[in-house]
């Protein structure tokens, strides 16, 4: 297992190298840069001398060849120095450090909620396969699957924050300040993500459960006179949850993209909003830092999923 983990972690090196290089070069292809933004190009009636923009560019080292800039950044990244924001002077590590816990909490809460919805719905649909209950759960799942996360987020905010006033429409309360306030501020965003997430998990679990329920050992359990509920939960659920776990892992990564929108709507200061703002402001160092974190997160999540496989099925460990 250790060899396996080491090998997976080694994958991080080429992955990080590839994604950071690609993002660095692609951002550089965009017209304009942070020097324009600093000089005021693009503001209402700004007439900015090109020499001013060029001087700022030189000041920030943006006039150096792109390869030179990339390797200089990479060198710094290896020593843990991810650079500073050109505009605000805030260190990239500090910015990410402040926002990462917010996104992590959002993703974990969203995924937990999604699993909480998906498992009972999947079991119910499998148990009543082909019947009205199954059809109802399937229709509901497809309805949520088809709805974009931002629509769900807006509806939730309107309903639960504006009309009912049960949860805040926006804002973030740190865990350390107020636990209840923290959970309240995360509830709607996490729910918005969970509602688009659970249908896939539920469908996967339903299909796997239906297959498992046709296995011989289930027949044996039935012959032993065990209750159907017991068979479902104790015998069928575990072998049917491999795909579910894989999808939970993969989707956790995909949720980051959904989180970008949901974080914006609920004004949660997470990695997603930081990434969007940094791309708009051409804060290339900030974007690079976030991409490194995301790449690492993807690899680590997949590693955890693989380890979980082993825990669930000893045959995989061997």
């Amino acid at each position: 297992m250790l060899y396996y983990i080491r090998r997976k972690l080694l994958h991080l090196i080429p992955i990080t190298f590839a994604v950071t290089a690609l993002s660095f070069f692609f951002i550089d292809l965009l017209p304009g840069d942070v020097a324009d933004a600093i000089a005021g190009v693009g503001t209402d009636n700004a007439v900015v001398d090109e020499a001013v923009v060029q001087a700022i560019r030189e000041d920030l080292g943006l006039d150096r060849p792109i390869l030179n800039r990339y390797f200089s950044w990479l060198g710094g990244a290896f020593t843990g120095e991810l650079g500073k924001s050109y505009q605000t002077g805030q260190s990239v590590s500090d910015a990410i450090g402040l926002r990462l816990p917010v996104t992590l909490q959002l993703l974990v809460m969203a995924q937990c909620m999604a699993v909480l919805f998906a498992v009972p719905a999947g079991i119910l649909a499998a148990y009543r396969a082909g019947k009205a209950t199954d059809k109802f759960v399937t229709t509901l799942a497809f309805a949520f699957l088809a709805a974009p996360s931002f629509i769900i987020a807006i509806i939730l905010a309107f309903l639960f924050a504006v009309i009912l006033n049960w949860f805040p429409a926006t804002g973030y309360v740190p865990f350390s300040e107020d636990l209840i306030g923290n959970l309240r501020s995360f509830f709607l965003p996490a729910l918005a993500l969970a509602l688009i997430e659970w249908p896939i998990l539920s469908r996967v679990l339903r299909n796997d459960l239906i297959e498992t329920l046709q296995e011989d050992f289930i027949l044996l359990a039935k012959a032993k006179g065990l209750s159907y509920g017991y068979i479902l939960l104790r015998h069928a659920l575990r072998p049917s949850s491999f795909t579910l776990i894989t999808i939970v892992g993969i989707q956790l990564g995909n949720l980051i993209s959904g989180a970008v929108i949901v974080e914006s709507i609920f004004a949660l200061p997470g990695i997603g909003t930081l990434l969007v703002a940094s791309i708009h402001a051409r804060e290339i160092l900030m974007v690079q830092g976030i991409i490194v974190i995301m790449a690492v997160a993807y690899v680590v999540i997949n590693l955890v999923v693989d380890i979980l496989y082993g825990a669930l099925d000893p045959r995989i460990r061997q």
Partner: protein
């Protein structure tokens, strides 16, 4: 006797009103304001952009030299008096004594000298000069007298001194020297509040300035600016009480807020205008008949309704009806007249086809498409290209690939700072205007600085000259709204999109 009783009664009623108001100004609490864009920094030499979120978020820390009373006269704030030389080249400002920055440093003439020397050395000086005028140097005449020396006669400086023009907001000199570039993150002004915490892209927290000279006016314990992107999330936040105030330029948001009885909406007809500018140097837009036809072909009320929910009024010059420089709509701006447009195009006699660029923001893209539709009805073919806002957009405009482009023009504090883009010798003459009558009118406006009446007449002549040549189509005056929950008291209407939020208080 009767008169005496009347006076006493009036006095008592007045005293009662004043006392009630004073008691109503409750102390304490945190005012939370939703910002649409993140703060980029407090040092205007590093972040010169005049974006309204940034200016509003900076305001609690700083103060102006003067403000303007309802009668338009100067009201002393940090300055006590101002005098100009007869040729309006030198402006002498006496500063109030005994004022301190929030870190305890004395506010005096040398602070202003240091402040402007920093700016003049910075790369943003060319940009900032567009807001404070052609300042050559700033000199301390004595400890509390500062002289602003201009490169040329500059009557507009009176307006700059009395309006919230953010490059005029001084930082504590010793602190500036000590922290260097970090001033962008650690501002120190004379304002009623001081920066307690700034998490870029998330929030800014201000607390009371303990050295403020008028503690009675510091009603709030804290002011927090939170970044909440998007109009709807911010409006929902005000409605649900997650924030107290939001600022917006969006008509739909303001209309929605007005319908909610739990909200208060203070709107400002800011002036400034959204426009469409033309490259007048090449066919077909080098012909004034075509440009006039384009103006006559568009129903601007329909444009305003579609692009900003009718929030505002069609514009006829750069200043709006709320400004003393407004030309009263008498600039000869062409009204909607499709028949006249067709006649002008017939007189031109050639097919009209050109390329226009816009940004993917609602007001602009809807406006551009609507103009395209109106022009199509006249047989004019317009190829529309959408380019992201910001640097990319202005590069596209300057590239020469487009014949027309949409642009917003902010209202300046004085005509002396506005409209120079149509002067043939101006570096920012993006419309490539070369009209002797426009140049002559602008030169006359620059030279007229006897009194405001003469200046306004000269400025309006200039606007009429521009409208006659039509290198620009005026769309609508930019509106601005402050939306707040009912518990926020003491809110004043914004001035040039700047709101003195730090003067508000919260009802218990």
């Amino acid at each position: 006797m009767k008169r005496m009783i009347k006076l006493i009664t009036l006095g008592l009623v007045g005293a009662l009103i004043i006392t009630t108001t004073a008691f109503a100004q409750t102390k304490g609490g945190t005012l939370t304001v939703g910002m649409d864009r993140p703060m980029t920094g407090f040092d205007s030499s590093m972040n010169p952009r005049p974006e309204y979120n940034r200016r509003n978020a900076m305001f609690p820390v700083y103060e102006d030299l003067f403000s303007q009373g309802a009668d338009g006269k100067l009201v002393p704030v940090l300055g006590s008096s101002v005098k100009s030389s007869p040729d309006k080249k030198n402006w002498t400002v006496k500063l109030k004594k005994g004022i301190r920055f929030s870190n305890g440093e004395a506010f005096d003439a040398s602070a202003y000298v240091v402040h402007f020397k920093r700016y003049q050395k910075s790369k943003a000086w060319g940009f900032l000069r567009g807001m404070v005028g052609p300042i050559k140097e700033v000199v301390a005449k004595d400890s509390h007298t500062v002289e602003f020396r201009m490169l040329r006669p500059f009557p507009a400086f009176a307006a700059i001194l009395s309006n919230p023009v953010y490059p005029m907001w001084a930082n504590a000199p010793k602190h500036s020297a000590k922290v260097g570039k970090e001033l962008n993150r650690q501002p120190v002004g004379t304002g009623p509040y001081l920066l307690s915490n700034w998490t870029p892209g998330v929030s800014i927290t201000y607390v009371k300035n303990p050295n403020y000279r008028d503690p009675k006016s510091q009603h709030l314990d804290k002011i927090v600016f939170k970044v909440i992107k998007g109009e709807l999330p911010r409006l929902n936040s005000v409605k649900s009480g997650a924030i107290d105030v939001m600022l917006t330029r969006d008509g739909k948001t303001a209309s929605q807020a007005k319908k909610d009885p739990n909200l208060q909406v203070l709107t400002e007809l800011v002036g400034g205008t959204t426009t469409i500018e033309f490259n007048t140097s090449r066919p077909p837009l080098n012909d004034v008949r075509v440009r006039k036809a384009l103006a006559h072909a568009v129903n601007r009320r329909a444009d305003l309704k579609a692009s900003n929910d009718g929030f505002g009024i069609p514009s006829t010059d750069w200043f709006g009806p709320g400004s003393k420089w407004y030309c009263g709509g008498k600039t000869g701006y062409p009204e909607f007249n499709p028949g006249k447009a067709k006649g002008l195009l017939r007189a031109y006699g050639k097919p009209v086809k050109f390329k226009m660029v816009t940004m993917p923001i609602k007001n602009f893209i809807v406006g551009a498409k609507l103009h395209q539709t109106f022009w199509k009805r006249m047989g004019i073919e317009v190829e529309l290209k959408v380019v992201p806002p910001g640097p990319a957009y202005f590069r596209a405009v300057r590239s020469g690939r487009f014949d027309a482009w949409l642009v917003g023009i902010s209202e300046a504090v004085d005509p002396g700072l506005q409209g120079q883009a149509f002067f043939s010798k101006n570096r920012g003459n993006s419309t490539k205007s070369n009209f002797p009558d426009v140049d002559a009118a602008l030169k006359k406006a620059w030279r007229s600085f006897k009194d405001d009446g003469t200046r306004k007449a000269a400025y309006c002549d200039y606007v009429r000259a521009v409208v006659k040549q039509q290198p620009i189509l005026f769309r609508a005056h930019n509106n601005f709204a402050v939306i707040a929950g009912k518990k926020v008291k003491g809110l004043k209407k914004s001035s040039l999109t700047l709101t003195r939020l730090h003067k508000a208080w919260l009802a218990r």
